[in-house]
């Protein structure tokens, strides 16, 4: 098994060769303009269809969820908040009793729930309410009908997509033990259903039959894991989950992330090499789709070539995105801000970044905005708290949260991904008011 990714010689390099293996990393402390991990619930509750996410927190947590989830809260929501009140802060025993009452009430009302996540928040952690103990206590009561798990989505512990990481990490100990003698592939990270199905077909065409996805669509379909499990990460923010999987004996397959035509090929190739798929089989399984993706990207190249792009930290997707946008569409990243850099998981990405780019980890938002103002990038990727204010100053922005709510991975989404970045420019040229 080779850990290195061979970028395919058939592709003529259309971009200057790049190299950012040892880029300088700017580390900043100060105000972080980011979401907390609770926000991950917004998409995780759609993915696992019989799970309920109960935040134990304050009114602020409930307010965040309804502001982030917008209109979805009314379509039979599968998340809610146990809002702590003053009497809950008075004594711990009391808080546990209250929690039991809320859970009992919830499960009576919603017999369709098969998995309940007790999600920790800043207030519950600061008062040291032990939700993992509560989860195992409650599990005794409700087993085998309902599995009750716990993870933290608090802002003090997690940033935005790390909420998904902690949630999946909480699932790992629940995974059955794998009985398989041959190698099996586990693809980890919540993907749009359509993307998951595409990947399953591609692996099938390569002859990799034994493929499972985490998270599953239903809590009863948890994939097995064991020493023969090879893990392909579909998302860059899965630090804890990978650590937990490694504890169970699974091996990480180093790979870039499946964004763009090149990224998707390299990602699939990493799996193919691990499973000993012969190169001809790999080509026949992927060549048509790759060519289709490359063709679909062409029109966007004209719009994006040479455009300077600045990433504010948000989801940890920034580095893979910058790699895809620079290599496949000719954009020029100036600064790539990201909440956290996992060196090992990004080992396939960082060397592909263009020379001279600045990586920044963490944030001091005011100072970072000073740099945005000084650089005047063509496009700034940022959160919704900053997008309109920057637009009002005449800068073009792309709001970043959309990248989590849109199918962007894989060959057939490459042009959708490019379009997300081309759209703001398109709009600017159309508007004449």
């Amino acid at each position: 098994m080779s850990g290195s990714v061979s970028l395919l010689p058939e592709r003529a390099p259309t971009v200057p060769s790049s190299g950012c293996s040892e880029p300088s990393v700017l580390r900043e402390r100060g105000q972080h303009e980011v979401f907390c991990g609770l926000t991950g619930i917004v998409w995780m509750h759609r993915k696992i269809q019989d799970a309920f996410f109960l935040i134990v927190g304050s009114r602020t947590c409930a307010h965040l969820m309804q502001s982030a989830a917008g209109v979805m809260i009314f379509a039979e929501p599968r998340f809610g908040t146990a809002v702590m009140e003053e009497r809950d802060l008075a004594g711990m025993a009391d808080a546990n009793e209250e929690l039991d009452k809320v859970v009992a009430r919830l499960l009576v009302r919603r017999p369709d729930i098969k998995m309940l996540f007790l999600v920790g928040s800043c207030p519950s952690e600061v008062i040291k309410l032990d939700l993992s103990k509560a989860a195992s206590r409650l599990s005794k009561t409700y087993a085998p009908d309902v599995r009750i798990l716990n993870y933290t989505g608090s802002g003090i512990e997690t940033t935005f997509t790390e909420g998904e990481d902690r949630c999946l990490a909480a699932l790992v100990p629940e995974l059955p033990v794998s009985e398989s003698n041959g190698p099996e592939l586990l693809v980890v990270g919540a993907l749009a259903d359509v993307v998951e199905d595409q990947f399953a077909r591609l692996f099938g065409a390569m002859g990799i039959e034994n493929v499972a996805f985490l998270p599953p669509r239903r809590s009863g379909e948890l994939p097995a894991v064991g020493p023969n499990t090879k893990v392909l990460l579909a998302q860059p923010f899965l630090t804890e989950t990978m650590r937990e999987l490694a504890e169970r004996g699974a091996k990480h397959i180093p790979a870039p992330f499946p964004l763009g035509a090149e990224g998707t090929t390299a990602w699939l190739k990493a799996a193919a090499d691990t499973f000993g798929v012969d190169p001809m089989t790999f080509r026949s399984a992927t060549a048509a789709a790759e060519a289709r993706a490359t063709r679909a990207l062409e029109p966007f190249r004209d719009a994006l070539q040479g455009k300077r792009i600045f990433f504010m930290p948000d989801s940890q997707l920034e580095i893979p995105l910058a790699r895809m946008l620079s290599r496949e569409l000719g954009m020029e990243p100036i600064e790539i801000g990201t909440p956290f850099i996992h060196k090992a998981h990004l080992a396939g990405e960082i060397p592909l970044l263009p020379e001279g780019v600045v990586l920044s980890e963490g944030q001091d938002v005011d100072r970072q905005l000073d740099r945005v103002h000084a650089e005047k990038p063509d496009l700034t990727v940022c959160g919704l708290g900053l997008a309109n204010p920057l637009e009002a100053e005449g800068l073009t922005t792309k709001w970043s949260i959309e990248l989590l709510f849109t199918p962007i991975q894989g060959y057939d989404q490459a042009s959708d991904l490019a379009n997300l970045f081309a759209w703001p420019f398109d709009r600017r040229t159309r508007l004449q008011v």
Partner: protein, 523 residues
Amino acid sequence: MQLTVWTYEGPPHVGAMRVATAMKDVHYVLHAPQGDTYADLLFTMIERRDKRPPVTYTTFKARDLGKDTAELFKSTLIAAHDRFRPAAMLVGASCTGELIQDDPAGLSKAANLSCPTIPLELPSYQRKENWGAAETFYQIVRHLSGEPMDEPAKPDGARPRCNILGATALGFRHRDDVTEIRKLLGENGIDVNVVAPLDASAEDIGRLKDADFNVVLYPEIAEQAARLLKKNFGQPFTTVVPIGVNATREFVAEVRTLAGLDVLDREAGATRLPWFSRSVDSNYLTGKRVFVFGDATHAIAAARVATEEFGFEVVGLGTYSREFARGIREAAKNYGVEPLITDDYLDVEQAISEAEPELVLGTQMERHIAKRLGIGCAVISAPVHVQDYPARYSPQMGFEGANVLWDSWVHPLVMGLEEHLLGMFREDFEFSDDALPSHLGPGHRVAPQDDNAIRVPDTGKVAEGEAAPAAGVWASDAEAELKKIPFFVRGKARRNTEKFASDRGLSEITLETLYDAKAHFAR
């Protein structure tokens, strides 16, 4: 702990942000964990503001908790002061900041900044957003409005002056309400001295005392500050909220009295509502059953407008503003309904399904309850979403506000002709019962489904009177006949008939029973 899916109000520090963001040169430093900056989106996205809110968050993380979070607060405060150079600073904590007890008040005093700092004590686990806004505005007025001074006597012929109090950022239609009321005051010869907090500077707060009286547009936010101004500077304040034609007329009379002007007896020519409401096509609005819910000010005003100016019947009235529940209780007595004081939307949902209204006047939340139940709905109060911060001029207050109310409340109702045809031809493929009203576009009504809602089981509240009797069994022909009654009154008819049957101990509901009940209730 309270199981919450939807909260009508945010935490109190969001109220403080609404006041800070409304003002010009005030900066708010908030001791809060990473992630609480989500609140910026309320202003930049929902209200579409083109600037970041003037709020700096300490955004502490777990690793900071082992260290000196107080030091972090202090350095954040000084950095924000040096960067933004505000005329005044607000300091406080969010819910998690409150738990770690770093005393922002003491720390800001020790920092000895060049501008006044106003500490905010906002108990996050007891109070909510509107209270937070009211308390913040009160503290700003207390700190910045200065000392009472012996005023020089006003020169003869000087126009009376008032302040307009209560409008904030993220307020429901505050922008246009202020414009409308300013215009109305001007037409009555009254000048506006200061509008606050909206668009006011710290210096403007110091000029509040120059006015003759105060106009309180939103008591939930400004009443507390208005009382303080009355105590300190002897300024009286208005009590009528000018929503609806009659309330606006009373408001004009009130401000003229406070301004020392004669009260005029004149027609309100600037509003079209009275004529629209009297024109014959509005006949079918008579006695339409309406359920009203929102903040106390808007709910009380809407109930009055609905009955006096639209000719509706109020079948439910409630608020989530506990601090202002008394007004709702009094108003509910007038309409002979049970007041609903709750911040649990599941209670509201239940009350709406039980009252079976034909129209709901409520918040964004009621819009979705109404959608599920297939009832028309118009929004009268926060919380609201992006569509209720419109580009067009759309006040709720004053005479133009009444025109806006007319259009937006009548729109969700089935138009008169369609209503008649629904009553005549029930089998119509296009205008059938389960289709949405034609003006609401294509689509089907959603059957209400309560089985899956996160409903808290009744806490042993037994319906008044008797244990619910088993309603008579519907004979199939009676059931079929019931289906011929238009959907918006069918629920009412079903319940009336069942009540009629159980009062008489009938075991079966026949066609005869249905029509006997109809005749009985028509009296």
